[in-house]
């Protein structure tokens, strides 16, 4: 049996069906807050009585194809707003969404963020959309900041879309693609590169040691670093950057890079043949290893897993 996700409930809110009878009075009350209605819609805000909000809601939210819900708090079961998908284009697997927390008392508490998160999980996980878009007044900074945080990308702006109080208002177009949701949490993925330093006069022998002896492959440095001394090398998707530093006694450092190798004994012979003294490391379970200093004094370790 698969684990059936609850697409409509999160920590503090749930999305429930629209009910024009139940919500008529509430929506009429919201419609009387002109300042708030201005944030939701570019249309002229107008106060409504419940009879109007009911028939309007029935007209557009009761169609089979409508994807529209009321936002209800889990605690206290208070209806605080509306959310839904519109401009759903099935063959393009794309839609826009709209959301509003109707009562100012519930603003700034993260309800909108929870509701949009539920909606995006639904849009990408159930409706199988490729893109979800939105438009928002550029001046609505709180909303814009929320959408950015959720991973929406600014795709452009409709210039002077609306004029209110004598001021032109731009509208931002934002969108999020399936592979951009959910936004990645900040996490370290793997080691990208390590850097070692050699004396500035020793770059040729550093190439000989790391490229010829160890077998790393030199790669181009970015143009912006071309005039800096040193070189970059690559091994299996990870990089070693060799740079220069003078007036440092590298033989005194303990920090090191460990190279995982095959044929450890052969490596010990090769390293010694290159003129580097080797010594046994402290024994650890599961590995054979030895250590050495590269020709410039950097401590290095060679390690190989052994069968248990």
């Amino acid at each position: 049996m698969i684990n059936i996700p609850d697409r409509f409930t999160s920590d503090r809110i749930r999305l429930i069906a629209i009910d024009a009878e139940r919500d008529g009075d509430l929506m009429a009350r919201w419609s009387n807050d002109a300042g708030m209605m201005r944030l939701f819609d570019s249309d002229v805000p107008r106060p409504r009585v419940a009879r109007q909000t009911r028939s309007e809601t029935e007209r557009w939210a009761y169609r089979d194809t409508a994807l529209e819900w009321a936002i209800q708090t889990v605690d206290g079961e208070v209806i605080i707003g509306r959310i839904g998908l519109h401009r759903y284009r099935p063959s393009h697997r794309a839609a826009d969404f709209h959301v509003g927390i109707g009562d100012r008392a519930h603003w700034g508490k993260g309800y909108g963020r929870e509701a949009v998160t539920l909606l995006l999980n639904y849009a990408f996980g159930e409706v199988d959309l490729h893109r979800v878009g939105l438009i928002v007044f550029a001046a609505n900074e709180r909303a814009v900041a929320l959408y950015r945080k959720l991973g929406f990308v600014e795709e452009g702006r409709w210039r002077q879309f609306l004029r209110r109080d004598g001021v032109d208002q731009d509208v931002l177009v934002m969108g999020i693609l399936r592979h951009e949701w959910p936004p990645a949490s900040p996490a370290v993925r793997r080691i990208h590169h390590v850097q070692v330093c050699v004396p500035s006069t020793e770059l040729d022998s550093a190439r000989a040691f790391y490229l010829n002896l160890l077998g790393l492959r030199e790669i181009d440095k970015p143009g912006s670093l071309k005039d800096k001394r040193g070189f970059w090398a690559e091994l299996d998707g990870q990089q070693l950057h060799v740079s220069t530093e003078d007036g440092v006694d590298r033989n005194r450092t303990k920090a090191h890079i460990a190279w995982q190798v095959s044929a450890l004994a052969a490596w010990r012979a090769k390293i010694e043949a290159a003129g580097c003294a080797t010594l046994d490391s402290i024994v650890i379970p599961g590995y054979d290893r030895f250590e050495a200093r590269d020709p410039f004094g950097n401590r290095i370790e060679f390690i190989q897993a052994v069968a248990p």
């Binding site: 570019s42 393009h92 794309a94």
Partner: protein, 187 residues
Amino acid sequence: MNDINIYEGERVRLSALDPFKDPEVEAVWSHTPDFLALYSVELQRPTSAHQLKKRYEEREKNHEDDAYEFDLRIRLRADDRLIGVLGIWVEWGAGNGWLRLGIGLPEDRRHGFGREALALALRYMFDEMNLRRVMIGVPGYNDAALAFFAAAGFKVEARQRETLFRFGRRWDEVNLGLLRAEWEAAR
């Protein structure tokens, strides 16, 4: 007072939809491979004259869209032949009008008919409807339309990434906008 017919250009005129005659011509367009792909982002499907007639009758009965939707036709003044479609959809609260324009048959394109129709439509939208801006959405693959509207002064305002699927792959939808001041300056 200016006694000019704002619906008439040199060679084309804008007119109402004729729900009885136009479907015969539009049904032919709907069977050509490129018309719908170029004119709209809706799913392409061949449509019969009778289906179109029924659709137009239904729309006429409802009258709901009259206040903000203007479904016009482009005809040649010389012989009154229907050559294209021009749709306007108005957001009155914002003073913004969405425009769509298409010439039906390939052989009627590249004669400047579209350019004439666009000039008529823009004058209608700015001088009669008193709109503040006009905008269009163009599929990313329609280079000809992008160049056509750019030449008329429209500026690219947004690029809705990968929001369209056609010909087996994804495309951006490009939003272009023209402000009243820009239109007046280029007049």
